[in-house]
Symmetry: C2
DNA sequence: GTAAGTGCAAACCTTTTGCAAACAA
DNA sequence: TTGTTTGCAAAAGGTTTGCACTTAC
C-alpha cells in the first residue's frame, strides 16, 4: 500500500508547476530550498513511482539524462539543439500511426515524437 | 584531418552488418574477439566521430543507454517493452511534420519517432 | 504497531578524459 | 615527422541500493 509523503507530493507539484521538463537533478535543486533535508535518492525513487503510476512521463530527448513531464496527455516535444530547451508542441497525437502498426501485428502502447533543430527564439 | 584506423572501421562495419541497434557495450563485446586489444574508450570515441560525420545515428529508446544504427536514411523505430528489441519500421518519414513546424518559426533538422509496445513476436 | 518511505553514503553503471605510446599520412 | 588515435586507468556523471531511522496509516 502506497503512502502519501510530503516529499513525493513536492516532486509532483514542482513538476506540475513548470513546463521545462526538468531532469531529476534540476528538480532536486528546485525543491532543496523549500525542503533542505530532501535527498536526491528520494527524488529518483519518487519519479520512478510517479512514472509507474502514470502521473508523469519520461522524455528521452537527451543523451545521458532523463527528463520528466507532468503533462500526461499524449503530446510531442521539440528539443532545441542550440539552447537545449525541451518544448511541448501542440501538434495532435496521431493515433492512426499506432493503428497502422497494430494491423501489422504489433501491439502499440504509444509513440513519442521528438523534433530536433532550432526553437523559434534561437532560429531568429 | 581525420585518419582511417582499423578500430574505427571495425566499429562501423560491425554496425552496418547488424540490425539490432546495439549499445556501445554490445559493440565492444562483438568486436573484442576479433580484435582483443580494443578498448571501450575507443568504441565510444569512434561512435561519436561516426555520429558527427553522419555515418551512424543515435537512438534514444532506452533510459540510460544510447543505441546506434548505421542506417542513416530517416526512419522510425519500435521498442518492444517485453523482449527489449529495437526494430526498424518501414513507415515513410513524414516531412510535412517538419514543414508544419518550420511555418511556426522553428527550424527543424529532423524528428524521431519511437513506438513502444509489443513487437509482433511478443504480441502472439 | 507495522509496512512504506526517507536520508545518507557507498556502490554501480555508463561515458569521458589525461597521458604516454602507437600509428597513419 | 607530426598530428591523430589508441589503450589504459582514473575520473566523472547519473542512478540505484543497503541500512538504520522516521513516518503515514
Amino acid at each position: 500500500m502506497r503512502k502519501n509523503t510530503k516529499q513525493r507530493s513536492m516532486v509532483y507539484e514542482e513538476l506540475k508547476s513548470r513546463y521545462d521538463h526538468p531532469t531529476p537533478e534540476e528538480l532536486y535543486y528546485a525543491i532543496k530550498p523549500k525542503y533542505p533535508k530532501i535527498s536526491i535518492a528520494t527524488i529518483y525513487r519518487n519519479l520512478r513511482i510517479l512514472a509507474e503510476e502514470g502521473k508523469v512521463i519520461e522524455i528521452k530527448s537527451d543523451k545521458n539524462v532523463l527528463r520528466y513531464d507532468a503533462k500526461t496527455e499524449p503530446h510531442y516535444h521539440f528539443k532545441c539543439t542550440n539552447c537545449s530547451a525541451v518544448l511541448d508542441l501542440d501538434i495532435a497525437y496521431n493515433k492512426e500511426l499506432d493503428e497502422e502498426l497494430n494491423k501489422k501485428g504489433y501491439k502499440v502502447n504509444y509513440h513519442s515524437i521528438i523534433f530536433y533543430g532550432l526553437c523559434p527564439n534561437c532560429a531568429k
